[in-house]
Amino acid sequence: MALMDVQSRTRSGSAVAVRPPRLHVSRQHLLTYLLLALLVAVVIVPFLWMLVGSFRPTYEHMQRQGSSLWIENPTTENYVRLFAEYDFARYFLNSTFVALVTAVFATSISAFAGYSLARFRFPGRGLAGFLILTTQMLPSVAIIIPLFLWFKQFMLIDTYWALLIAYNAFAIPFCTWMLRGFFSSIPPELEEAAQVDGASQFGAFLKIVLPLSAPGLLATAIFSFILAWQEFLFAVTFTSRADLRTLTVGIASMRGKDVIDWGLLNAGVVVTTIPLAILFVLVQRYLVQGLTAGAIKG
């Protein structure tokens, strides 16, 4: 399948690749590993520092020991406080709910749109694809102001609806491009055969194309889940009630005006990021496909 090209090439490439002989490490290799180590350090140290800080007791933070990567008395008190002093479970639930609904809904709508762009050569196809791509690039400030006024008028401020509507609209363009790529990689002969056997075009889509692209649909759903989970600006603008806070807004609200509760913030970041990291590992290669397909073939 064309879709898996990059991935499979890499895989076979590294499988076939002759491993460098052990005792003969060339200068070029040494340099590569050195630079890689540096790169990994740049990426991982901020995160590691956060992880360490989340297990550091408050008094150690107060003694300015936040400026090191060492803990004298590791503790889980920050995680306990996260759930005891703040409604963190609620934030977690809110984020999960909003992200799940976005994942299901945006993927369904995008599946139809993506299939349409992938299979049909209809008048206006180019324009439709162009419009979907450009909406992805509209400045969010230009949309958030009128949208806020509309939501206010329809009493949707401080409801889940405001977030769900906004997130879906923002996930759909990208998901459509991602799914378009998946559907294009399925040979049309399968649907043609089904149609010869008497299925309608819609029936062929439901019974043949959708099951065959299950991995693609799942990847797209997870992508929109991540997108909704990460969002901050819309959430902070459209909600003011504490019980509607998502994780990103909830953690931002933990920042005191004068005192920084380091341990708490660190723990919050860790709890929010880890589910994303797990999901991400699952879909990484599909995500790369979608990104490159959507951006380059457009």
Partner: protein
């Protein structure tokens, strides 16, 4: 490509054949309806309404009274000295971030494209910042760069503070000189994996025999990077940079969390300013005018860029 396409016929009447095409592809339009309804109501209509509001004197806290004032708000904006400052800041932020992301992304892609052990693990690690939500990355770096943060302790340990550029307890985000660079560094960390992924994917489509031939001809790795790799992935370099510019220009998250435009407007960008005007002070009309200006700037950037892109692709 199309399922069950009939053999091509002579088109006797163009209009008639157009409608035949439309009706033959009915399902294609039906399938697009839900997506376009969403996009129309949540993206396009608000955009149009925003443009309309930019001509009205409209205060969020007095919504009933909104007189038409024409271009007045645009004129006031352009005359405001803060506009020039925010304009410069926006480009400082955008080009600074995208340049850093581009360079680090390219270096990462080249390294990850080598035959190395644990390739998959290295690729996974480099992508970590991508999953960290932008607002949380901002909070993380906000802590890293406080006076008691890790950055200062590292700089002090290597003796950087003795150079006298910044003090040993420097609060990076409270100084007008260092606030924007700190935001750019944060953005680099958060955004470079996207560049790396795009570049890496493009590099993997370059046929290996090209490199083999160059090696046999005695070209050094550096030489083949500049003569083979860079020219081959030029379209990707261009399009990724365009996307990066558009996203960065419009993004508010990092600035909102780290400085909210301060200190003394040193990190105020146009989108951040528009957001503050609308939701901080309730000046919907002024904010909408700013949003229209931002949209115009984006359209210019995208158009110029796509022309360059088309030319590059045609040359190949």
């Amino acid at each position: 490509m199309t399922a069950a396409q009939p053999p091509k016929r002579q088109h006797r009447q163009p209009l008639q054949s157009f409608w035949r095409e439309v009706s033959r592809n009915r399902l294609a339009y039906v399938f697009l309806v839900p997506a376009f309804v969403m996009l129309a109501f949540v993206n396009l209509l608000p955009m149009v309404q925003g443009a309309a509001m930019s001509f009205q004197l409209f205060n969020l806290f007095r919504p009933g009274n909104r007189p038409f004032v024409g271009l007045e708000q645009y004129q006031d904006l352009v005359r405001d000295p803060l506009f020039a400052k925010a304009f410069v800041n926006t480009w400082y932020y955008t080009l600074g971030s995208v340049t850093c992301q581009f360079i680090l992304g390219l270096v990462a892609a080249v390294l990850l494209n080598q035959r190395i052990r644990f390739q998959g693990i290295f690729r996974g690690i480099v992508l970590i910042p991508w999953v960290v939500p932008g607002s949380l990355a901002a909070m993380m770096f906000g802590l890293l760069f406080t006076s008691a943060g890790l950055v200062n302790s590292v700089l002090n340990a290597i003796g950087f503070s003795q150079l006298g550029i910044v003090g040993p307890d420097h609060a990076w985000l409270s100084d007008t000189r260092t606030a924007m660079p700190t935001i750019i560094i944060t953005n680099m960390w958060k955004g470079f994996p996207f560049f790396a992924v795009m570049f890496l994917a493009a590099m993997q489509t370059i046929p290996a025999d090209l490199y083999e031939a160059a090696r046999i001809d005695g070209a050094s790795p550096v030489r083949s990077f500049f003569d083979i790799t860079l020219p081959s992935i030029r379209p990707t370099l261009l399009i990724t940079t365009l996307l990066g510019i558009l996203w960065t220009f419009n993004s508010i998250d990092l600035i909102y969390i780290l400085t909210s435009g301060g200190p003394f407007y040193a990190t105020l960008t146009l989108p951040m300013w528009a957001y503050q005007q609308a939701f901080g002070r309730g000046y919907i009309g002024v904010a909408s005018a700013l949003a229209v200006i931002i949209l115009g700037l984006m359209a210019v950037v995208a158009t110029v860029y796509l022309i360059v892109y088309r030319r590059t692709v045609q040359q190949q």
